[in-house]
Symmetry: C2
Subunit: 193 residues, 2 copies
DNA sequence: CGCCGAGTTGAACTGAATCAAGAAACGTGG
DNA sequence: CCACGTTTCTTGATTCAGTTCAACTCGGCG
């Protein structure tokens, strides 16, 4: 199983001293979350940011028809949050759940804002993490907007190879903006080649 | 014409002192750019970030068929860049052009990074601007992924009402992931109601 | 006046959705 | 460890939103 230690992750992005790192990490709470547990519900205001040490999470919402639409997958070594709710403190459009047994570090928005005020380096970290996320979302947008269902699946294989095989067909299909049936046919036609 | 002064914009987000602001602004270069001028070309590595004081820009790329696909519009009071190229210093997938006579402030990546190092408040600014952009892109992604052509056009009217009427049909259609013909029919059916 | 780009309209076509039904895999309790 | 029920995946037939291709209109401008 993939595993990414939070302190290694932070150090890789910004050169924190060990003292800084200790102080920062003590604001995070480590937790083991069992498979299928829901961390954020639609309509709640989420005050928590999660870092995934190992395991896998996803955000999704319910469309008009009540169907779950996957919005994003979060693998190990990534920050996970209901982007709208956490950043803007509005009711979340999304659910966040864990798809397998997962180890997370969590921090509240208040504490994170404190850290931003105390450590300029944390601002840098925040900026870098957000920028990375922005480029990934832009990539997905381009894939969704201008590619056929088959090309979208290939984009997924390229960008998140691990996830494409760990996760149920239906979750992936809705993430890629197609039906489960379509994805099933695409997989079939790919495997016969 | 809409107009947004860069120093008002910066002060609104982060409480810079006047001295800080003066020092920061002297790294920006003010420029009047005539309609239709291209600022970044596909394949170039773009070292420049733009702030639009007045006017309008867009990013677009050429698809396999050689057709221009609008990726984003940038109105006054917004930062504009080839996101991939500027942040990751890779060859740009996109062109950036100005759709009308526009007044911009530009800054190079090196100078911006200097400012990030000198002023922690600039890191905060960077984080806030990136976060705002991220939420907008996520919104567009949801619109594109799960809505009909007609709903997408309504999303555009709601989110960028000014732009929807300033810009040519073809630019908007490709931005919304539909053909010009489809958008023309949607507009017709809306106006007859 | 005549050209040219932008927008409109029509008709045929198509990729993917929907609807429906069956097969396979999964997990839970006896 | 098997049996049964539930969920997940596959396959087929039909339908439809939106594309494609092609022709036409309109307004501006040299």
């Amino acid at each position: 199983m993939t595993f990414m230690n939070i302190s290694d992750f932070l150090k890789a992005l910004v050169p924190f001293t060990n003292d800084e790192l200790d102080d920062i990490l003590k604001h995070f709470k480590k937790e083991a979350v069992p498979k299928n547990q829901i961390l954020v519900r639609q309509g709640e205001v989420s005050k928590t940011l999660y870092f995934i040490e190992s395991g896998l999470g996803r955000s999704y919402y319910l469309n008009q028809a009540g169907k779950e639409i996957t919005q994003w997958f979060f693998g190990s070594g990534k920050f996970m949050a209901s982007a709208d709710s956490f950043f803007q403190q509005c009711p979340s459009l999304y659910f966040i759940e864990v798809l397998e047994d997962t180890v997370i570090y969590s921090i509240t928005k208040e504490k994170l804002d404190e850290l931003f005020d105390t450590y300029p380096k944390m601002e840098k970290l925040g900026r870098l993490v957000t920028t990375e996320m922005l480029t990934k979302v832009v990539n997905k947008l381009n894939a969704i907007q201008f590619q056929t269902a088959k090309e979208r699946y290939e984009y997924m294989l390229a960008e998140f190879p691990d996830i494409a095989y760990q996760v149920s067909l239906g979750h992936i299909a809705s993430y890629l903006g197609m039906t489960q049936e379509t994805l099933s046919r695409i997989r079939k036609s790919n495997s016969s080649k």
